[in-house]
């Protein structure tokens, strides 16, 4: 590896490590959350550096953006007393440090021989790409080769949302409509819709896809909701429910249809792979967007019938 590459990787790696240690050890909770968001962005850089553009996008949107928002929202609701928590780490620093160091060394020993091996799946994906009906290999894996994982993943998201719905509704403090914020949101919202749509469309050929597009749309929607431009999105509205459940329902329906038609469960008829995947992607994006929005901004008090 040439020197300048070493320089870049070295700095990035060092920076990530320092940030992580800082996140754990800094006294105030707010500062640790901010540092964590920075840590997320740096990670996105590293994914890009390692040649994973999809991941970089997803990490930035979901890892840094949404997680950061969630953390700040949680921080907002935590009472004053707990914010200035006394010493965050308790006394037994020495043994914990020693222990984790030793474990790290052991794992390094395990990881050592891995780089010069290779995976049997890469050539398999390559020669199957033709029938996958999609240009971009990651989307092909996501939506056709291992479609079952993606379906389950959507279910996980849905389940998380249902679980959050069960908890006592947390009342978000009504944010005062800060005029500059309103202006920004009016500007950014259409932009995010545009980019989300573009990402969704390009997903079949280049990096992009349902999850990244969904995250962006969610960001836009959250911005509008926080500035009061969007009405409260209650679970009792049918269209909200349809949107959230649509992703899984469509995916499941197409899978079963595939099995019924004889091309195997979650298998697409040879001609129809492309459009079907696109259909699934659209519904998945919408469902992810709505779910993430509702996850972040929470629910108004919903009448428990």
């Amino acid at each position: 590896m040439s020197l300048h590459e070493w320089m870049l990787d070295g700095t990035l790696g060092l920076l990530v490590l320092i940030l992580a240690v800082a996140v754990l050890h800094v006294r105030s909770l707010y500062i640790s959350i901010v540092l964590f968001i920075a840590f997320g962005l740096l990670l996105a850089l590293i994914w890009a550096r390692l040649g994973a553009p999809d991941l970089a996008l997803a990490e930035a949107a979901i890892g840094a953006g949404l997680t950061g928002t969630l953390l700040l929202a949680a921080y907002g609701r935590v009472s004053e007393r707990r914010r200035k928590a006394e010493e965050p780490l308790d006394w037994h620093a020495g043994p914990a440090l020693l222990l984790s160091l030793i474990i790290a060394v052991i794992l390094m020993r395990a990881v050592w021989p891995l780089p010069d091996l290779d995976s049997a799946l890469v050539p398999a994906v390559a020669d199957q790409m033709a029938q996958s009906g999609v240009g971009h290999p990651v989307t092909a894996v996501l939506l056709s080769f291992r479609a079952w994982d993606t379906l389950l993943e959507l279910l996980v998201l849905l389940l998380a949302f249902m679980a959050v719905r069960q908890l006592l509704p947390s009342l978000p403090r009504q944010p005062e409509a800060w005029p500059l914020l309103q202006a920004w949101s009016r500007l950014l919202a259409p932009l995010s819709v545009l980019i989300g749509g573009y990402l969704l469309w390009r997903g079949s050929a280049d990096p992009g896809g349902a999850f990244q597009a969904g995250a962006l749309l969610a960001a836009g929607a959250i911005l509008l909701r926080l500035t009061g431009l969007l009405p409260a999105l209650g679970w009792h509205h049918f269209w909200i429910r349809a949107l959230i459940l649509g992703g899984c329902m469509v995916f499941l329906a197409i899978g079963v249809a595939g099995y019924w038609l004889g091309t195997g469960f979650l298998g697409y008829a040879d001609g129809w792979a492309g459009p079907l995947i696109l259909l699934i992607e659209v519904f998945a994006t919408l469902s992810i967007a709505t779910t993430l929005t509702l996850l972040v901004i929470g629910e108004t008090r919903e009448v428990r019938e």
Binding site: A96, L99, S100, I102, I103, I106
Partner: protein
């Protein structure tokens, strides 16, 4: 016809529930042993009862058993007659009659028994129910005597049980007494049987309970106890011991015979010595029984020495048992009567008859028994000891006369009262038996006629004369030796009392009333330890993370 034998044990046994139901039948109860008399003569063949315990056989096989059955039945009859009048007004009469009938059943059953098991059943039934007779009076003295009697009876039972086991094993499974008499016996068997039956017979070393029990029992009971029951011990020894069938002499029993002879003689003289010291008439009579049992033990010794013909010895045993039984029964009944009524002169004459017979006066059953005994000893291996028997009869005379004197002294004052008829009948018949019996009984008559020879008469008379001289001296000088204190020491009773106290006071069970001693809470310490351990595990996530890290470390190293 063999089932007739069942009548003998069953009549008294069936009378018990009948008596419980209709107490008024008490006056008829003395007839219970009646069926034994005709059956002793008819002698139907032996009854085999497979239904009962294995090998059960009842019946009379030889002459001796017939004699014994007749004598026992007669004695129970006479004593029963006296008991009816004696216990007419007794509040606990029903309990007395129940035990009376049970011991009678046991006694009759063991005579009829032809196999070890039936003998043992009869023997146990008799000895355990006799306990009821001993403590019938309810006084502390009778209760103590009863306890001693029972303790020793139980020990005797168990040793007998062991002896029986060994005997059956040696006779490899057969239960018949006839079979046992042929098979040789090992030393442990002999010892067990001797001690087992000895405790019942009551000769010298094992007599401890006899002087305490007999005086405590009511008159009729002690008559039967002394007369019939202690004979069971000797009968048992006679039937269980192996006897050489003439040609080959069994080594072991022969070696034991001299020891037995010695014990018999010691018992004879010891009985007389201690008897003379007694101040109570019944105790003196009891000691006289101890000495007489010594003589019977001599007989058994002769049997074991196999130096004498078994039939003759059997006959002699029969005579001796009958003689002693009737005489001792009469004396005890007489003593009992003397405590209630003042006896008239005729009664004293009647009383003198059995006493004299005991001493071996000519023309009485005693003479026959004594002389036959001396002849047998003469021509057996122990001829050298014959002289002692003469001294023995002299000693017996002394003891009997002392007993008579004590009875006379214990009479209440006032004019001689008339005795109730049943008492007179029962007691009279027993007293008259001594002189009259030889004439009724052919074998006895033949033996009596032998004793009338000059040499025989002299043999009988010189000890009596010597005895009479000694009595005359004593009456004349009336020496005050104050040896009564010696007599009162009864080792057996002391031991029995100490055992009872040890048994009852030992278990000082914790009385629930006592406050439970405050148990220091041993597990208080543990409880705190446990609380600390629980507090440690409260923060689940951290602890699990630590466990995970440690797991990784340990596993991956």
């Amino acid at each position: 016809m063999a089932w007739l034998w069942l009548l003998i044990p069953l009549t008294p046994l069936l009378l018990v529930p009948i008596l419980m139901r209709w107490p008024k039948l008490r006056s008829v109860v003395w007839l219970a042993p009646l069926p034994a008399l005709p059956l002793a003569f008819m002698r139907p063949d032996t009854l085999v009862l497979p239904g009962l315990w294995p090998g059960a056989q009842l019946g009379i096989a030889d002459g001796l058993s017939a004699i014994l059955l007749l004598f026992t039945a007669a004695l129970w009859l006479a004593a029963g007659l006296c008991a009816v009048s004696g216990h007419a007004k007794d509040p606990h009469a029903r309990r007395f009659w129940v035990f009376w009938l049970l011991s009678m059943t046991g006694n009759l059953l063991l005579i009829l028994a032809q196999d070890g098991a039936s003998f043992y059943v009869g023997f146990t039934l008799m000895s355990l129910s006799a306990f009821g007779l001993v403590i019938h009076n309810g006084t502390t003295e009778s209760r103590r005597a009863g306890r001693l009697y029972l303790q020793l009876a139980i020990v005797g039972e168990l040793l007998l049980f062991m002896g029986l086991m060994l005997r059956v094993h040696e006779a490899d499974g057969s239960m018949l007494l006839t079979a046992w008499q042929e098979t040789p016996a090992g030393l442990p068997t002999l010892i067990c049987l001797l001690i087992g039956f000895g405790l019942k017979a009551g000769f010298w070393p094992l007599h401890v309970w006899l002087p305490a029990a007999h005086p405590a029992a009511p008159a009729a009971a002690s008559a039967v106890l002394s007369g019939a029951m202690i004979k069971a011990g000797i009968i048992g020894l006679w039937r269980f011991m192996p006897r050489g069938s003439g040609e080959e002499v069994m080594s072991l029993p022969a070696s034991v015979a001299p020891w037995l002879l010695a014990i018999g003689l010691i018992s004879a003289f010891y009985g007389v010595a201690v008897g003379l010291l007694q101040t109570r008439d019944k105790t003196a009579l009891a000691y006289s029984s101890v000495s007489q049992m010594g003589y019977l033990l001599v007989l058994v010794a002769l049997l074991l020495s196999q130096s004498v013909s078994v039939e003759a010895l059997g006959l002699l045993l029969g005579f001796y048992v009958v003689h002693h039984g009737l005489a001792k029964g009469a004396l005890f009944l007489g003593a009992g009567m003397a405590h209630e009524y003042r006896l008239s002169r005729v009664h004293w004459v009647l009383m003198a008859l059995p006493a004299v017979a005991l001493a071996g006066f000519p023309l009485t059953t005693g003479a026959v028994a004594k002389s036959l005994l001396k002849d047998q000893v003469g021509n057996s291996a122990f001829a050298a000891w014959e002289i002692l028997f003469y001294v023995g009869s002299m000693a017996t005379l002394l003891l009997v006369s002392r007993a008579l004197w004590l009875i006379w002294r214990s009479q209440p004052g006032g004019p001689p009262a008339t005795m109730p008829l049943p008492w007179k009948l029962g007691w009279g018949s027993l007293c008259l038996a001594a002189p009259v019996l030889p004439w009724l009984w052919p074998d006895l008559r033949v033996a009596l006629l032998d004793t009338l020879s000059l040499y025989g008469l002299w043999g009988l008379m010189w000890p009596l004369l010597l005895g009479a001289v000694v009595i005359a001296l004593v009456v004349r000088f009336n020496p005050q030796w104050h040896l009564e204190r010696l007599a009162r020491y009864q080792p057996g009773l002391v031991l029995s009392l100490r055992l009872r106290r040890w048994l009852q006071t030992r278990p000082v069970a914790r009385d629930p009333m006592l406050p439970e001693r405050p148990v220091r809470m041993p597990w208080a310490g543990w409880r705190n330890l446990e609380r600390r351990w629980n507090r440690l595990g409260r923060d689940v996530v951290q602890v699990s993370a630590w466990v995970m890290a440690l797991g990784l470390l340990w596993v991956l190293l």
